[in-house]
């Protein structure tokens, strides 16, 4: 479904992504794990068109999207929930959802907003509230709900567990799994490698801009090197 082939991304003189290739098949949960600064978010931003690769190609459903403008990707079916959630803090919960459905008309949106409220009843209670006043967990729900407004085929989630209490982390991961079961393909970037590998089908381990390991999530979970480096060992 998504194929990333030999991308190289630079921040000025820093070679942040060094020839990375991977793919995500329809219906999968694929996770990119790795330490802070390994380049995980950079990869998602490059797929979204917010950053550009100097080489290689990114294809989505057999279409080359390497040079697509960021706003063209959502209509194609790729939704990106960025790091730090990036909800519109000064807009209300409902306005945030409306923005998520910007590419659709208002009538379709009304139905979609209801379906998001069904999934996240908490957001319905707070629909008129300014989004910046929500708790971290609620903001993450809003960010995911907003991404679902466009009925995407592929959702890219960047550190959805960041800054959340363990109970909320479990809840968010349950939601991701449910989403996947309802047919949405997931590309998940996480520092919480254990949680990510538990729900993922496959995983890639990133080390300073390169992929060092690629395997099924189960094998990665039991790999002694991965355990030592990313799972706190035992």
């Amino acid at each position: 479904m998504l194929k990333v082939d030999n991308i190289n991304v630079y921040y000025g003189a820093i070679h942040a992504i060094q020839g990375i290739s991977f793919d995500v098949k329809e219906g999968e949960i694929v996770t990119l794990i790795g330490a802070n600064g390994a380049g995980k978010s950079t990869i998602l931003k490059t797929i979204s068109g917010l950053l550009r690769s100097k080489t290689g190609q990114i294809t989505f459903m057999d279409k080359d999207i390497s040079a697509a403008m960021p706003h063209k990707l959502l209509p194609m079916g790729i939704s990106h929930v960025p790091e730090g959630r990036r909800i519109f803090q000064r807009m209300t919960v409902e306005e945030n959802l409306d923005m998520g459905g910007y590419i659709r008309n208002n009538k379709e949106n009304a139905a979609l907003v209801e379906s998001v409220y069904e999934r996240f009843p908490r957001l319905k209670e707070r629909r008129r509230q300014i989004a910046g006043t929500l708790s971290g967990g609620e903001q993450q729900m809003l960010a995911i709900g907003r991404a679902l407004m466009a009925s995407p085929k592929l959702v890219m989630l960047d550190e959805p567990s960041m800054g959340l209490a363990p109970l909320l982390v479990n809840q968010i991961f349950d939601i991701i799994q449910e989403l996947n079961k309802s047919g949405v393909t997931i590309l998940l970037v996480e520092q919480n490698a254990r949680m990510a590998l538990r729900i993922a089908h496959r995983g890639y381990v990133l080390e300073s801009g390169r992929i060092s390991l690629a395997d099924s999530a189960q094998n990665l979970l039991s790999d002694p090197n991965v355990q030592r480096a990313y799972l706190g060992g035992n």
């Binding site: 403008m69 990707l73 000064r90 807009m91 409306d98 466009a150």
Partner: protein, 290 residues
């Protein structure tokens, strides 16, 4: 009675400042640029409506409509040609470019229309008596038109799809792009609306102060900029409030102190605001959140 009269005069010039200040504030909200060429849009608007009416002998309404369109197109073109290529450069390059565009337009106008002022015939004749004082129809029309435009703008920004997209882009352009919002179109739209408001301000201004000259936009633009800063740059209600405050301050100074001091008072307000509350009445500081 004179107090009321001065206040009404203040509201009249204040609503013109407010219309122009809205352009500064909206553009700043979206691209973080003080568009110093904005004052020149007023000047172009003034020449345009004058040209349509006295040279092409068009009736008032089509002349105003053409002026609004010309200014909107000019505003969008300036952004596309001069500002867009610099969007990722340092803010200071953008600011200097804006000042450059302003000089370019002023000198172009001088070349085409010469430095001799042109006279504009008021669209609104007659006056209304309030007590012993007379208030011109132009004053009433200016206040009325401005109020209607400001209400319309508030509805546009708060209720419509494109208005919400403008707010989204002004808050977080990258996140807005991920929502499928075309940031370039939203920026163009913002420049178009801001310039259209400046065009209307130009027509209203010419109805009360009939002289049109190539440099007329700079002082008017600067005062509107002060109004935008006073209200809190980037804030739409701020621009409206700031405009009215500056207008009333100017008019009261003219009425009770001295007309020569009115400019000093306006710029004095700018200094005081920058010293005491640089974010203005409605402004919020850009808190960096990690």
């Amino acid at each position: 009675m004179t107090l009321i009269y001065q206040l009404i005069n203040g509201l009249q010039i204040g609503s013109i400042y407010a219309l122009v200040a809205l352009g500064y504030s909206m553009v700043y909200g979206i691209v973080r640029l003080i568009n110093f060429a904005h004052g020149e849009i007023i000047m172009v608007g003034a020449y345009c409506v004058w040209f349509c009416m006295s040279r092409l002998a068009l009736p008032a309404l089509p002349a105003v409509a053409i002026t609004v369109i010309v200014c909107a197109v000019l505003g969008v073109s300036i952004e596309r040609i001069a500002y867009k290529p610099l969007r990722k450069s340092a803010r200071i390059s953008l600011l200097i470019t804006a000042i450059g565009v302003s000089f370019l337009l002023q000198n172009l106008a001088q070349l085409i229309f010469t430095a001799n002022p042109r006279m504009f015939t008021n669209l609104f004749t007659g006056s209304i008596a309030i007590g012993t004082q007379e208030i011109s129809a132009a004053t009433v029309a200016t206040i009325g038109v401005s109020v209607v435009l400001m209400i319309a703008l508030s509805v546009l920004v708060n209720k419509t799809r494109i208005g919400k997209a403008m707010r989204a882009v002004s808050e977080d352009a990258d996140a807005a792009q991920l929502m499928g919002i075309n940031v370039n179109s939203v920026i163009s739209f913002t420049f178009a609306i801001g310039s259209a408001l400046a065009a209307i301000a130009a027509v209203l201004y010419c109805c009360s102060y009939s002289q049109i000259s190539p440099t007329m936009g700079s002082m008017l633009g600067l005062k509107a900029f002060v109004a935008a800063v006073l209200g809190g740059i980037g804030s739409i209600p701020g621009a409206m409030t700031g405009g009215l405050c500056i207008g009333i301050a100017e008019s009261l100074t003219k009425g009770y102190i001295s007309s020569q001091l009115s400019d000093a008072v306006v710029f004095g307000i700018l200094i005081v605001v920058l010293l005491i509350k640089p974010t203005g009445i409605f402004g919020r500081g850009d808190h960096q959140k990690v």
